[in-house]
């Protein structure tokens, strides 16, 4: 093992370096659990502090766990190391930002903290207030007060995904199907070794993954703020949901939306998405999704829901090609276009026209009632 014999670093113990670097990483926005810092300390003890690349790769192996974070890690490491080299004794620590995920089942959460309730419940559990008018009102026409009320209603939304047969087997009461030898042997003990009472297995069901892609470009602005609440309701109400924001770039917001507090969640997602109300290159966004997430597995056998008005500044051929790719792996594609509700609407936006042949369900989603309808479509 290389001993720490080189001059400039010899007096700095691995613990101090590890703790200081962990703070730099946290300041740069990475999640670094305390355990990782401890591992980094021990690892530095094995690798030594002599070489820059040795410390770099040790940090990579212990403090990082997603390829998306590599760029941030590299920048943070460069800053950290160079300052240390420059002899800055005390590294200036950037203010640490503490994000507390709220997980308090409150009054606005009638089902309680148990996700499983939502999964097993019958198709859709919707609890709407008696304000029927609000349900059919177009989101774009909402007053701020109405929006507050709608947000409350939306957080009551519970989504159930379409089911598919699971490969996991479970005990069956029926007297047919695959034999459950484990239980059969147990029972035959009672009969002196004779397998009189036989037991069986059956296959269960599991919900398909639900992937939500929200167009956050300028033209979608009046609806995006309502839809992001819908995304939040979906992410917290059941497992196997993934949410992405599509603008000039693709941003995964699943983790940001996972907080039970709707305001905190939407706030976190908004901070993550840096291109709100920018331009759209839908085709490019769907391509990024296909390349980085969808084709490798996320969209396979999933119900994919795209919330967009279909305005695309890119080439429509690109969108058509990417929708074709997506359609080949997804179970169903649902396109939610709030403009569809306008009288006399025809899908003339070039992007919409290009995408439509690959869409299984084309729905409105412009009002609470329409979202209720969407929840039903998703569960089919």
């Amino acid at each position: 093992m290389p001993e720490t014999t080189t001059e400039p670093v010899s007096e700095t113990a691995p613990e101090r370096i590890a703790v200081a670097f962990a703070r730099v990483l946290r300041g740069a926005g990475l999640e670094v659990p305390v355990g990782a810092t401890l591992t980094f300390t021990r690892a530095l003890g094995c690798v030594g502090l002599a070489s820059r690349s040795g410390v770099y790769w040790t940090g990579r192996a212990t403090m990082l766990n997603r390829p998306e974070d590599i760029a941030v890690f590299d920048r943070a490491f460069a800053v950290f190391w160079d300052r240390r080299e420059a002899g800055a004794d005390e590294i200036e620590l950037p203010p640490e930002e503490v994000v507390v995920a709220l997980d308090v089942p409150g009054a606005d959460d009638p089902v309680g903290p148990d996700d499983e309730v939502g999964v097993d419940a019958p198709v859709v559990t919707l609890r709407w207030s008696p304000t029927e008018i609000l349900r059919h009102r177009d989101f774009a026409l909402y007053t701020p007060d109405e929006f507050v009320e709608a947000r409350r209603l939306m957080s009551d939304l519970r989504l159930v995904g379409a089911a598919r047969p699971s490969r996991r087997r479970k005990r069956s009461q029926a007297r047919r199907g695959a034999p459950d030898l484990r239980r059969t042997v147990r029972r035959s003990m009672r009969a002196g070794g004779e397998p009189v009472e036989r037991a069986f297995l059956t296959t269960g069901e599991r919900t398909r993954r639900l992937v939500l892609l929200l167009d956050v470009s300028g033209s979608m602005e009046p609806y995006a703020r309502a839809f992001v609440r819908f995304l939040h309701a979906a992410v917290v109400s059941r497992s196997r949901v993934e949410a992405f924001a599509l603008g000039t770039r693709l941003t995964r917001v699943t983790r940001d939306l996972a907080s039970r507090d709707p305001d905190a969640a939407v706030h976190a997602a908004a901070r993550r998405v840096t291109d709100w109300s920018g331009g759209t290159r839908l085709g490019e966004g769907v391509r990024r999704f296909n390349d980085e997430w969808g084709i490798r597995g996320l969209a396979r056998g999933a119900v994919v829901v795209i919330f967009s008005d279909g305005w695309d500044r890119g080439e429509p051929e690109v969108l058509a090609e990417q929708m074709a790719r997506l359609q080949r792996v997804a179970y169903r594609i649902v396109w939610v276009n709030p403009l569809k509700a306008s009288p006399g609407y025809a899908p003339l936006a070039r992007g919409m026209a290009a995408a439509l042949p690959y869409v299984d369900e084309f729905v409105e989603g412009h009002s609470l009632a329409a979202l209720e309808q969407l929840a039903r479509v998703i569960s089919e």
């Binding site: 990782a36 790769w57 990579r60 192996a61 212990t62 590599i70 070794g193 790719r325």
Partner: protein
């Protein structure tokens, strides 16, 4: 019981290279730390960059048995840990009954009737060297299984209700791979060291091709490595991995080529690009250009 404890990262690089695996510094550091700290190593990366190969070469190098657990949806304890040999149990019961003896439950659930699946085999080994446990494509298993795995990877022990707790004297060397079809749970990631295997650079890829396909003429290997590098810059749906590069070099050399040329590339494009759209894109880009720039880069 001698677990392998290398002293330096360089020792790891050399040990792997001696067994035909060329790791860059990052991967070698991760493997070094996994061995020294006795922690599982989680490897992610594009398909075909050699994730699974890491476990195989570790097994060749350390001399530990390779125990492989291929994950799939619905995998559970009976396929991953242990199962009782039910048909033998039933036969045994019948035999006992026929000789009018009493059925002894303890005997029925003894090691004699135990079928060890990969996780139990990896923990219950009694050889001199700990085995290398490869948990392949963990992202295909479901969350429940992951939680279960976490317990084993933290305590290095499994409890079999009928037999008691099985604990590894020396923990196995554990390599997990994931294709990122979903996120591996944070708790499991916290337990593991992590390395993202990127595509190799030109020099390393050339060295890998030379090592893995020694029958390929050097100039051809240079051309192929350069062309693979160029193809990765073309925004393809599935950029070629090292595995494809090796296949391609072997295919071209089987066809008797000593250098890359347009006709041969046209005929063998399917060994390196597996999507019709990708092949079209490369043809539209110009096979001649690809060959010329590869030959110039390789020279």
């Amino acid at each position: 019981m001698v677990p392998l404890l290398p002293d330096t990262v360089a020792e790891v690089s050399k040990g792997l290279a001696d067994h035909e695996y060329l790791a860059d510094e990052g991967l070698a550091t991760s493997i070094f730390l996994a061995l020294r700290l006795q922690r599982p190593l989680l490897l992610e990366g594009e398909a075909g960059v050699g994730k699974t190969e890491v476990a195989k070469v570790l097994s060749r190098w350390t001399g530990g048995e390779l125990v492989r657990l291929q994950c799939y949806e619905g995998i559970d304890a009976s396929q991953a840990v242990y199962e009782w040999d039910y048909s033998r149990q039933l036969l045994h019961l019948r035999a006992v009954e026929a000789s009018h003896e009493r059925v002894d439950e303890d005997e029925l659930y003894s090691e004699r009737f135990l079928v060890k699946r990969p996780l139990l085999r990896a923990l219950a080994h009694d050889g001199a060297v700990p085995p290398v446990l490869l948990i392949d494509e963990i992202d295909r298993a479901d969350d429940e299984f992951e939680a279960f795995l976490l317990e084993i990877l933290s305590d290095w022990s499994i409890s079999v209700p009928e037999l008691g707790v099985v604990r590894a004297d020396v923990p196995p060397v554990v390599v997990l791979t994931s294709n990122r079809t979903r996120d591996v749970h944070d708790a499991l990631k916290r337990r593991c060291l992590y390395h993202w295997i990127a595509h190799p650079d030109f020099e390393r890829e050339l060295a890998i091709v030379r090592l893995r396909a020694p029958q390929v003429p050097e100039l051809l290997a240079r051309d192929v490595a350069a062309a693979a590098e160029a193809l990765r810059g073309l925004e393809l749906y599935k950029p070629p991995g090292v595995a494809e590069t090796i296949d391609w070099a072997e295919a071209l050399s089987t066809l008797g080529r000593a250098r890359l040329d347009e006709t041969a590339v046209d005929a063998t494009l399917g060994t390196i690009l597996k999507y019709r759209e990708d092949q079209e894109r490369v043809r539209a880009h110009g096979l001649g250009d690809l060959v010329r720039s590869a030959v110039a880069r390789g020279a």
